[in-house]
Amino acid sequence: MIDPKQLESNQEIEYIVRSAFQIQDPDSSFIERLQIELADRFKAAGASTIRQNIFFRRSQWIGKIKLLISPLA
């Protein structure tokens, strides 16, 4: 069982500790800008992954054809 006096005293000291630190929340315009920036990066990263996959698949496909035609050569 928590002693209510102790709890109150803890909350008080925690409040003073918080006040002693600099606490500032981010600006909403900053959050919006960063969200857009991250979405753009996400798209760019996704596009490059798709490009890499296409390239990878194409090289795999060429490799397979080379393997198939090599005995004929």
């Binding site: 500790v17 981010p26 900053f30 990066r41």
Partner: protein, 191 residues
């Protein structure tokens, strides 16, 4: 606004919803956006309390999330996603200080202290906060960091333990011991 830190420690237990979101965030921008939105405020607050300047804090916060976006496919979820983000934030802040200037402690935190409209109680609160600031500053860097992670970043004990390479019980005891010490010092001042 501060969240109630006394009831949030279940968050450290593996959260399947969060795990699902993290997995989805590697390919789904809306999942990443949710992770971003639930962590941005804490990350920014933490960084701001270290650098004391909003432009620098914004720049470093942006770097943290860009690094997280890049590193997410390699991240292995262990129930402490916030701790992972904070470890990135810590690196970014220490890189910043290495290239700029040593740790700064700007004593402008006292705007927040006036809870009541009563000028006298507001003055007492400001003085207490000022004294507390000095006391915290006299602690070693590790202890200051523990208080910052708990009361500025509002991390739970599990997340702080993860970041400090310690366990939850030890972390909890250490923070309570620090609070008891700070309370005692303030009481000595009053006597």
């Amino acid at each position: 606004m501060t969240k109630d830190l006394s009831t949030d420690d279940s968050k450290g237990i593996f959260n399947t919803e969060e795990a699902f979101l993290i997995k989805a965030a590697c390919t789904d921008p809306s999942a990443f956006k949710k992770l971003f939105q639930s962590n941005i405020r804490q990350i920014y607050r933490y960084i701001f309390s270290k650098v004391g300047e909003s432009k620098e804090a914004e720049d470093l916060t942006a770097q943290v999330f860009l690094a997280a976006l890049e590193g997410l496919p390699r991240y292995r979820h262990n129930g402490y996603f916030s701790a992972w983000l904070f470890s990135i934030a810590r690196h970014k802040v220490s890189d910043h200080f290495r290239s700029q200037h040593p740790d700064i402690w700007i004593e402008t935190a006292f705007r927040e202290t006036s809870r009541s409209g009563d000028p006298l109680s507001s003055l007492i609160q400001t003085e207490e906060a000022h004294r507390m600031s000095e006391l915290i500053h006299s602690l070693d860097e590790q202890d200051q960091e523990l208080l910052r992670l708990r009361f500025v970043a509002e991390l739970n004990f599990g997340e702080i333990a993860q970041l400090s390479n310690s366990n939850i019980e030890k972390t909890k005891k250490r923070i309570y011991r620090l609070l008891a010490y700070l309370r005692q010092q303030l009481e000595l001042d009053h006597d």
